[in-house]
């Protein structure tokens, strides 16, 4: 799990077989008149890290936010095509958005802890979904904070405001908060771009630990990060998927010249 390896050697564990969990089939997404995602088809493997890379405005975050339907909140969004998680079309009318989002957790670019205590931040989700018993909540808070590698730093002051934590700790708290509702999938939208290098490293280490239990999809504009932590990398440009491949392969020998231009730093 070393993460200091130079690129393009990927730190990903040796190739292993993984089933597809998320199938995206000919997805088109429009914000009003703007065609943000163009005919995107993509398979995302279970219990692995998939990284979306590409320049700003290429649609990578838009696709990520389609996976838990956060785009529903933006007026004027229109979507065509199909996204299926474990075979279920998540845009079909019988899907309950709140239940979907419980199963597909999300961590945002800026750490956004609630202005509450550390404990209440983690317990918010479980309470929302009906867990009231104090002992059960205590367990969830502890295991989630442990899973997010934050427990040792905060266990003695769980009642302290989450806003007293550093940026990196806040982001790990947000990860703990997402894990507390027991999702299967964790979406990370440039989750380290607002953090310092040390905190970034900790989050990357954490991602390595979490991928054994969760399917992780991360958006990053840091190619080194994609190379360090992901198993599969998808390169986006102008709303299209240019190339999707095993991370090692994509960085070592991209098959599309645009991918090569991007990862060699010629633009973006």
């Amino acid at each position: 799990m070393s993460i200091s390896m130079p690129m393009p050697a990927s730190a990903a564990t040796p190739a292993r077989t993984a089933r597809t969990l998320i199938e995206i089939d000919r997805l088109n997404l429009y914000y009003g008149d703007f065609h943000a995602l163009k005919n995107v088809s993509l398979d995302i493997p279970e219990r692995a890290v998939t990284a979306f890379i590409g320049p700003s405005g290429c649609g990578k975050s838009t696709l990520l936010r389609s996976l838990n339907r956060m785009n529903d909140l933006i007026p004027g969004t229109r979507i065509e095509g199909r996204i299926a998680i474990a075979g279920t079309d998540i845009y079909s009318p019988e899907v309950d958005v709140e239940t979907l989002r419980k199963k597909v957790g999300m961590v945002f670019q800026q750490p956004n802890p609630f202005p509450k205590s550390i404990y209440d931040n983690v317990a918010y989700g479980p309470r929302l979904h009906g867990i009231r018993k104090k002992s059960r909540l205590d367990e969830i808070v502890e295991s989630s904070l442990k899973a997010a590698a934050l427990w040792d730093e905060v266990k003695d002051h769980l009642k302290r405001s989450a806003l007293s934590l550093s940026g990196g700790q806040q982001q790990r708290l947000c990860i703990a908060r997402a894990l507390a509702v027991e999702p299967d999938i964790l979406l990370m939208d440039e989750a380290t771009s607002a953090l310092d290098p040390i905190s970034t490293l900790k989050i990357e280490e954490l991602v390595q630990q979490l991928k054994d239990r969760y399917t992780i999809v991360m958006v990053t504009h840091n190619m080194h990060q994609a190379a360090r932590v992901s198993n599969q990398t998808v390169f986006f440009l102008n709303g299209e998927v240019v190339e999707s491949a095993d991370t090692e392969q994509l960085f070592a020998g991209p098959s599309d010249s645009r991918t090569e231009d991007y990862i060699s730093g010629r633009f973006g």
């Binding site: 945002f108 997402a178 509702v181």
Partner: protein, 324 residues
């Protein structure tokens, strides 16, 4: 990530600085005589404008205090604060402020019971649910509502609300605390809504997104994330609305009656502190008489109450502000 990021590729010409210094006084004069007078005069002018309200406040306090002191030479302050009968105009005279205080409190409580839930619910709707278009229509209307002269509300209470109240409770008098209180409440709804909505709007979108991403519904996010985060602003709006109801004059003068009455029955006619001041001010009371002094004592009490409430509102807004 080594030095290669910093290479300029030869596009930028190298610069070599000579040890000489540029000295050409004429071309680089930075004086401007015309502006210096204005620059000294403007702050003084602006300060004078700013001090108008402070001087006025000092004047008001001076008037209130001096007349109140005269009043308390004739009426013991203990009788004023603890007496249960207020009869300044008719024998036997009595100057216990409690009936007026009770009347004021009754009106205020009724008003708050009406305004706080409705105002807060409207704020939640406007900030969390309403599409931008709806919000852009409703907010200005609310602000217009806040600008309706209170005397208009007074006649609305007397000619519209009172008949409704009397239809429901036939024993109600023409003048009663309930209809006046309800209408005072309606009057302060826009204030509660507008200030609470501002507070809720200031809660960053990222917090709502955080809640939605955990599977919260809009209502759950509004109730458990946005409301607590905006609490200081909401409480401040409540206290200000309370203070506004305490000081409200025209509605209660028109619709609540002129009967100093130590009661908490909302169907009876009462008199508030403000309405009493209006009553005496309009009458042929002689300057310097004890009745004349009494309105200053009541005014002083009113001033202290609203001053305290406004201070509390400011304190709450500062103290309980959640950082986000």
């Amino acid at each position: 990530m080594n030095g290669e990021w910093l290479q300029t590729g030869g596009a930028v010409e190298p610069l070599k600085q000579t040890p000489e210094t540029v000295r050409a006084a004429g071309a680089y004069s930075f004086k401007n005589e015309r502006k210096s007078v204005m620059n000294r005069l403007m702050p003084v002018l602006l300060m004078l404008c700013a001090s108008v309200s402070i001087i006025t406040t000092v004047g008001i306090v001076y008037t209130l205090v001096s007349e109140t002191v005269l009043f308390f030479r004739e009426v013991p302050i203990v009788e004023f604060l603890t007496g249960t009968r207020w009869s300044p105009l008719f024998e036997p005279r009595a100057f216990g402020i409690l009936p007026l205080l009770a009347g004021t409190l009754l009106i205020t409580i009724i008003a708050c019971v009406v305004a706080m839930p409705i105002g807060l619910a409207s704020a939640v709707y406007l900030s969390e649910y309403a599409p931008r278009r709806v919000r852009n229509i409703i907010k200005p209307i609310l602000e217009v509502l806040a600008g309706v002269p209170t005397i208009v509300y007074g006649y609305f209470a007397l000619s519209f609300m009172t008949p409704i109240v009397r239809a429901i409770f036939p024993e109600t008098g023409i003048f009663n605390a309930l209809s006046a209180g309800i209408v005072v409440g309606i009057m302060i709804i826009p204030m509660v809504t507008s200030l609470s909505e501002d507070a809720m709007n200031a809660v960053p979108k990222s917090l709502r997104d955080g809640a939605y991403a955990l599977g919260a519904t809009k209502f759950e996010s509004a109730l458990k994330i946005v409301l607590p985060a905006a609490l200081s602003g909401i409480v401040a709006s409540f206290v200000l609305a309370f203070s506004r109801a305490v000081g409200e004059t025209m509605i209660v003068t028109v619709a609540a009656g002129a009967t100093p009455n130590l009661t908490f029955n909302p169907l009876e006619s009462i008199q508030t502190m403000t309405a009493y001041i209006v009553q005496v001010s309009l009458g042929d009371t002689q300057r310097g008489s004890i009745e004349y002094g009494s309105i200053f004592a009541v005014g002083m009490a009113l001033f202290i109450i609203t001053f305290l409430l406004n201070s509390i509102a400011q304190y709450v807004a500062r103290k309980f502000r959640e950082e986000y």
